[in-house]
């Protein structure tokens, strides 16, 4: 039986870290190339004792780190300044300082992942999952409390008797041969076998099919739909009844919204002054209501007492006083026309004040005017 097996190499054990350093030095001095040293923890000075060349891994880390950094830079540049520029926090689109943490992280992350992956791929020869040293007493010892050297049979200087005597000369214990496992040697790579691929396909279809069914069908199945689906149009729905296909219709020509009076004197305030009459009485409630609205909307320019001496004085052309002869002689309707259309710099207040509010403001303006120019009949 033993003769059928292919020899992998010879192993020898040592007891202390000093011994293993010495053994490594002697092994490399003897001229062996394909040998390895196994220790339960990293022993300082091993690299120089084994005369190892500096690892090539840093170059992989450097190249992958730099290229992912550059890639990330271009990615962010394209996103934030070309494809979808959005102002964030008042910063320019090309705000490099904000990218630096991202670039730093992606460089570190990709470099470390590349190091680990290439280490597994190059040194452990992934997807190879077995090694002759696995499950041997040798590896059990060197992973707990012993230090070991293994010399491979592939080494040009390898010769069973020679290696044995060499191990003896450097004081190794438990000198044992390690053989390849025949099953593993003859075992072809299982990953690409038709059976395995079929198995993978079945698993993939089962998983995706189940996912599709549960997420898209089961979870969206509506058990009772008679309240959800009614005989009516919902907003934005297509109509089959109307020719233009809109279920949402425009109101009939001339429709007036509730509480909304059409205003016919746009651009013609004099006409409004002749026709319109203030519908409100000068009651206490109406005056107070008018004062509220006046203080909010009118006082910023006209001032609290209508004299044009407001808090925005100087930022805009000052409005004239409303106590002038001209305004006092205007009818309520004429002032209503000014509120609707605006005048000179003053904009229209048609949308800020509704009809009642406008008339209440006019009542209050009248009260202000009388406070300075009272008639005898007011007494």
């Amino acid at each position: 039986m033993m003769d059928d097996k292919i020899l992998y190499g010879y192993t020898g054990l040592f007891d202390t870290p000093d011994e293993i350093i010495e053994a490594a030095e002697k092994t490399s001095a003897e001229g062996f190339i394909k040998y390895d040293v196994h220790t339960p923890y990293p022993v300082h000075g091993m690299d120089s004792a084994m005369k190892l060349k500096p690892s090539k891994l840093p170059y992989i880390a450097l190249v992958v780190g730099l290229s992912s950094m550059i890639g990330m830079f271009l990615f962010m540049y394209w996103m934030t300044t070309i494809d979808y520029p959005v102002i964030v926090g008042g910063k320019p689109f090309f705000s490099f300082p904000a990218w630096v943490p991202v670039l730093f992280e992606i460089t570190v992350l990709s470099a470390s992942i590349a190091t680990v992956v290439s280490m597994i791929a190059i040194f452990f020869k992934f997807p190879n999952l077995s090694h002759p040293l696995q499950d041997t007493d040798f590896i059990r010892s060197v992973t707990s409390d012993k230090y070991g050297v293994s010399i491979e049979a592939d080494d040009p200087k390898f010769n069973e008797e020679y290696v044995k005597s060499f191990f003896n000369s450097i004081g190794a214990k438990n000198i044992t041969p390690i053989y390849w496992d025949n099953e593993e040697v003859n075992f072809s790579n299982t990953v690409l076998q038709p059976k395995f691929i079929t198995f993978l396909l079945v698993v993939a279809m089962a998983v995706s099919g189940t996912t599709y069914f549960t997420l898209n069908k089961l979870m969206f199945m509506v058990p009772f739909n008679w309240m959800r689906e009614q005989e009516k149009y919902i907003p934005q729905e297509v109509s089959t009844f109307f020719e233009d296909g809109f279920s949402m219709r425009n109101p009939v020509e001339g429709t007036v919204a509730r509480g909304n009076m059409p205003y016919k004197f746009s651009g013609n305030p004099d006409a409004a002054g002749i026709v319109l009459v203030n519908p409100l009485f000068a009651s206490k409630e109406n005056l107070e209501f008018g004062k509220d609205k006046y203080d909010i909307y009118c006082s910023p320019c006209h001032g609290y007492f209508g004299e044009g001496d407001s808090r925005l004085n100087g930022q805009f052309p000052n409005p004239p006083s409303i106590h002038s002869e001209k305004v006092r002689n205007w009818s309520d309707g004429r002032i209503y026309g000014v509120l609707m259309d605006g005048q000179n710099v003053m904009p229209s207040y048609a949308s800020q004040l509704n009809r009642n509010e406008k008339w209440a403001v006019i009542l209050y303006v009248r009260a202000l005017q009388r406070s300075l120019n009272a008639k005898e009949s007011d007494l």
Binding site: D18, S48, P97, A98
Partner: protein, 396 residues
């Protein structure tokens, strides 16, 4: 280790006189130039004196930090040249002398010392419980007393061990170092705020203490590395300091260059993001006019070049490269302090003249001369330290 019970051979050799002579020459030129500078332009000289003071603080205090760090973590690899850092930290003894001219010119360089200005300035009024002359004086006296006290205790213990070989001293030093660390953290933070940040009393940055600390560590490590390699090449240290030790020094230097860049960038990034006018103007001042060129140049000198020069493993073991980069980084640290201090004096543009050069020469001269005086009659290796043999045997 058990197999090597050999006696450490260290013979105190005549300390090379070149060091001292060069130091004396630089000190002489620097002293003459700085006295002339004080006569011709006292305000500018006082600002440069702040740079000198903070540079010496960096070297002295940073070296003391490394000594304490070795004690507290029980590091072995750095024991063979711990004495170099101990001797370097003797610069702390000179600090009060260097601080005196700045103290007497405080009114010229510290805006917050003007009582009439503070009275009308709400921000400075709020800060006045901290920034006032009485408290400032008390604080700087505390810093100097504490630093010199710890320097004195740690170096005296170390020297005592040379003779007595008492192992208990190593344990005692660890305790003292543990006491020193928090004291160090507070004093370096507040002293950097007092001497550097309060030059612009309206400005504030909460990370400023860490920023100064990162520069301090880089500078003192560079100075130590340079002297260790130089002494070792002359054969003045113990046999057995090899590329493994160089690599560790270089790796630490590399790490702290990155740390400095990290902290400097963090400081910038937060201020840039928040975009508050009372914080950003400090950076804007350094990003406008001719200061822009200096800022960019300074980033390259302080970060980019040392980073790539020390990136690969062999470069950290190459003594020539390490010596060059150490000197380079020391210069970069002077630029760092220059960049912090001088824009306050000259916001309109970069200035660099014989006054600045004089103070830089003075700084180097002071360090070389104090090192020479202290090293002349001392063992350059802590021969009584029980960790010494293991430190010599250190392998990567």
């Amino acid at each position: 280790m058990s197999s090597s019970e050999k006696v450490i051979e260290y013979n105190r050799k005549g300390f090379s006189p070149i060091f001292g002579k060069l130091g004396l020459v630089l000190l002489g030129i620097g002293l003459v130039l700085s006295i002339l500078a004080y006569l011709s332009d006292p305000v500018r000289s006082a600002f440069n004196n702040v740079i000198l003071l903070e540079f010496l603080t960096s070297i002295g205090l940073g070296s003391l930090f490394f000594v304490a760090l070795e004690h507290i973590v029980g590091a072995v690899w750095s024991t063979p040249f711990r004495r170099v850092f101990e001797i370097l930290s003797s610069v702390l003894l000179i600090l009060p002398l260097v601080a005196l001219p700045v103290y007497f010119h405080a009114h010229d360089i510290f805006h917050w010392t003007h009582v009439d200005v503070v009275a009308t300035d709400e921000i400075l009024q709020q800060k006045s419980p901290y920034l006032n002359m009485t408290f400032f004086t008390i604080r700087i006296i505390i810093y100097f007393v504490v630093w010199i006290l710890f320097y004195w205790i740690l170096s005296r213990n170390s020297k005592k061990q040379d003779i007595t070989k008492d192992q208990k001293i190593t344990k005692l030093n660890a305790k003292i170092a543990a006491l020193f660390m928090p004291v160090f953290a507070f004093t370096i933070t507040f002293s950097s705020i007092d001497w550097l940040m309060s030059l612009e009393p309206h400005w504030f940055s909460t990370i400023f203490g860490v920023y100064f600390f990162s520069g301090t560590v880089v500078a003192s490590l560079a100075a130590g590395t340079f002297i260790v390699i130089w002494l070792n090449e002359k054969g003045l240290l113990v046999d057995g300091i090899k590329k493994d030790h160089y690599y560790s020094l270089g790796a630490l230097l590399f790490a702290f260059i990155n740390f400095w860049a990290y902290i400097a960038f963090s400081q910038f990034l937060l201020i840039w993001y928040a975009n508050l006018p009372e914080e950003t103007y400090w950076f804007l001042q350094r990003w406008e006019g001719s200061w822009l060129y200096f800022s960019v140049f300074f980033i390259i000198v302080h970060f980019a070049i040392p980073y790539f020069a020390l990136l690969s493993q062999p470069s950290k073991m190459n003594p020539k490269r390490l010596k060059l980069m150490s000197a380079w980084i020391l210069l970069a640290h002077i630029f760092d302090l220059f960049w912090i201090v001088i824009p306050t004096f000259s916001p309109e543009g970069l200035i660099f003249g014989w006054i600045e050069i004089g103070f830089i020469l003075l700084a180097i001269g002071i360090i070389l001369v104090t090192f020479n005086i202290k090293a002349k009659n001392a063992n350059l290796v802590p021969i009584g330290d029980p960790k010494l043999q293991r430190g010599i045997d250190f392998r990567l």
